[in-house]
Amino acid sequence: MDGARMWHVSEPLGVIHSDLCPFSADIISTVEFNYSGELLATGDKGGRVVIFQHEQESKNRPHLRGEYNVYSTFQSHEPEFDYLKSLEIEEKINKIRWLPQQNAAHFLLSTNDKTIKLWKISERDKRAEGYNLKDEDGRLRDPFRITSLRVPVLMPMDLMVEASPRRIFANAHTYHINSISVNSDHETYLSADDLRINLWHLEITDRSFNIVDIKPANMEELTEVITAAECHPHQCNVFVYSSSKGTIRLCDMRAAALCDRHSKFFEEPEDPSSRSFFSEIISSISDVKFSHSGRYMMTRDYLSVKVWDLNMENRPVETYQVHEYLRSKLCSLYENDCIFDKFECCWNGSDSAIMTGSYNNFFRMFDRNTRRDITLEASRESSKPRATLKPRKVSTGGKRKKDEISVDSLDFNKKILHTAWHPKDNVIAVAATNNLYIFQDKIN
């Protein structure tokens, strides 16, 4: 990042989730800003959704943007038991996606492995008082005591934020849902599991269209699964889905009802010199995101982030190495299962920078214009309020400089899988296991 921009911890606490929430700290499984950036939603392993709201700038601290405080908390999904298959369905929230705001209320979609729910989050700050038939505490008034009629008056009350489930989209996925994406028409959305993608209408819960089905007739022939899917931000007929083999398929829903045949196929030819037993596993794409402009898309595989031009299928236009020093450790990472970790990635509002997570609570940001990158750490120790984050470095050579950390000292239990970037400002949210960090850049 350029020198003028330095990242620091948002007031009052960088660490929010686990400290302010009265519930037990649970592992955060998804983070998402809404379209305006005013609200930040997190989902966790316990099926809860916590929404933070951006407070207005305070007058006595004008050099900082406002803080993010808890706005609403609700239990989105409960654990379920599938009696037919003798299985428990996890309540963990896999993804949250906001709908564009159309009225005073906010709507979001949250999903676990099997069921998608549409939640309405609305505010109530007024209460009607002066009912004729009942008292203020709700008891019915004695009819004989009513001698005159009055019109109830709206009185202000303490702000109450209510979340209510408006739609439940269930029983459409045999396999585990890994992605949901709201379409630009604001009427439909898609949901993807390991082998199928369904298209829903937000108003209709009892059926959905299956638009992609890669399940082979003979499961013996299964060698590839769907890992992520997203709708194009502007073209409501276009969507992409990524696979475990490192390929991305772009599909046009106008071409056919069933989009098994792609319109574009993105794959980078393998470099034969770097081939290993784990080549396929590390090529598996864990996240795909369109740029805000709709001209590019970004994919995250185990070791790198790639930016693709939608007009060029044979290779990405940019490749950023996230933690190349892990390439020589793939054997151990395979053994301890870290190689299967699914990292997400995100664009900033202007598509000039991208961000993704790594191990040891490190996360990386790449500036596409200057080609500079920075590694930062999200931890309590290094994130005192108003502190400026210090760039971190992993030493790859034999000699370890001061302040560098060696590869073998990295903590592979501390992984940053979920990050989000404010759609307009330079505010980022980073989920480190059960802690949420919000950072913003210093305005000089």
Binding site: D82, L84, K85, S86, L87, E88, I89, D113, K114, T174, Y175, H176, D194, L195, N218, M219, E220, E221, L222, T223, E224, V225, T227, S244, S273, S274, R275, S276, F277, F278, E280, I281, S284, R327, S328, K329, L330, C331, S332, L333, Y334, E335, N336, D337, F340, D408, L410, F412, N413
Partner: protein, 350 residues
């Protein structure tokens, strides 16, 4: 680098070796192979294996075995610790099993035969890999000396067979995954018994087994449209097997020591051993272990495996003993031999 609570193993050099001719390549390949098998099995024991993970591990297994076939001139005598002994074990048991099953494979071209035989070997390999006992390795190597000797000569043919059968095995794993996923009556990867199941209590036995397994394992996957497929494959298995293979042929071909280990795998699969015929078979198979040399560490490990399985250990007299002395085994041998005859009749009749 190692997660808390995990036992530290000795991985080969971490430097990624892409050149097959380098000495560390083979050890790394074997390491990846054994780890992959281990992972796959442990994943399958979970009530809900992740499909993405299973597919990636299966693809890695396929690739690793393919790489092995690409480099046939493997030096089996490489003096490295566990890796080489396990590799020798794998190759020798693999080819040993292959030799024994070759006739079975030739006899029937049915899908099930191709599936069952290699899966036997795959399960054997997995058991060997997971047991990680040098004694076990040695035994099995000595158990099939002929195949080891022949191994160099036959490597050319074996390699293609092994590649083909291993990928068939992996395919069968995925089928099994599908069956547990879809809740179909198709049998899970306990396919080593599949040939015997078809003969003993044909579709009923096989289907019942599959159903029980499914109930135990389950999967989050739907079952409706998938029921058609397994029924037809059961049909195929039944028809071709019964017409072309006799029970005696099969029993002669099968190396029961390896099958016994597979019974251990079966028990682990979590269906609780509710299959009656399976228990009978285990009793029937037990006497064969007594034919091994007395100081047989393998039967120790076998008994240990059996002890871990509550369902089987309650049935098997041998499992309750921790010694494997020949004096203990031989009195049972006669008794078991008689039971064996009795069982053979039952199986042939049905």
């Amino acid at each position: 680098m190692i997660m808390k609570g995990q036992k530290r193993k000795h991985p080969p050099e971490d430097v990624e070796v892409s050149d097959p001719s380098s000495p560390t390549w083979e050890s790394q390949r074997q390491f990846v192979f054994s780890v992959s098998l281990n992972k796959y099995q442990r994943g399958q024991e979970l009530p809900e294996p992740s499909l993405r993970r299973s597919v990636l591990i299966a693809n890695t297994l396929r690739q690793v075995s393919h790489e092995a076939c690409r480099v046939p001139s493997v030096d089996m005598e490489v003096p490295q610790p566990l890796c080489s002994s396990s590799s020798e074990l794998q190759e020798s048991t693999f080819t040993g099993v292959e030799a024994k099953h070759h006739s079975a494979v030739m006899l029937s071209n049915s899908h099930s035969a191709l599936v069952s035989c290699p899966v036997v070997s795959l399960n054997n390999l997995s058991n060997c890999a997971t047991s990680r006992s040098p004694a076990t390795c040695h035994l099995s190597a000595s158990n099939v000396p002929l195949s080891v000797k022949d191994e160099d000569e036959d490597w050319g043919s074996m390699s293609t067979d092994s590649d083909f059968s291993l990928s068939a095995a992996i395919s069968s794993i995925l089928t099994a995954l599908d069956s547990t996923i879809d809740g179909s009556p198709q049998a899970a990867p306990r396919t080593p018994l599949r040939s015997l199941e078809n003969l003993s209590g044909p579709s009923d036995g096989g289907v019942a087994w599959g159903k029980q397994a499914v109930r135990g394992n389950g999967g989050s996957w739907e079952q409706q449209e998938e029921l058609r497929v397994p029924e037809s494959s059961v049909e195929v298995m039944r028809s071709s097997y019964l017409s072309e293979v006799t029970v005696e042929d099969l029993f002669q071909d099968i190396d029961t020591s390896l099958l016994e280990r597979d019974m251990g795998v079966l028990g682990l699969r979590g269906s609780g051993g509710g299959y009656q015929a399976g228990d009978d078979l285990l009793r029937y198979l037990q006497p064969f272990s007594s034919s091994f040399p007395p100081s047989n560490p393998f039967s120790l490990s076998l008994n240990h495996n059996l002890k871990c399985l509550p369902s089987f250990s309650s049935f098997c007299p041998l499992s309750s003993s921790s010694s494997s002395s020949p004096a203990f085994l031989s009195p049972n041998l006669v008794r078991e031999g008689l039971e064996l005859e009795h069982l053979m009749e039952i199986l042939v009749e049905s």
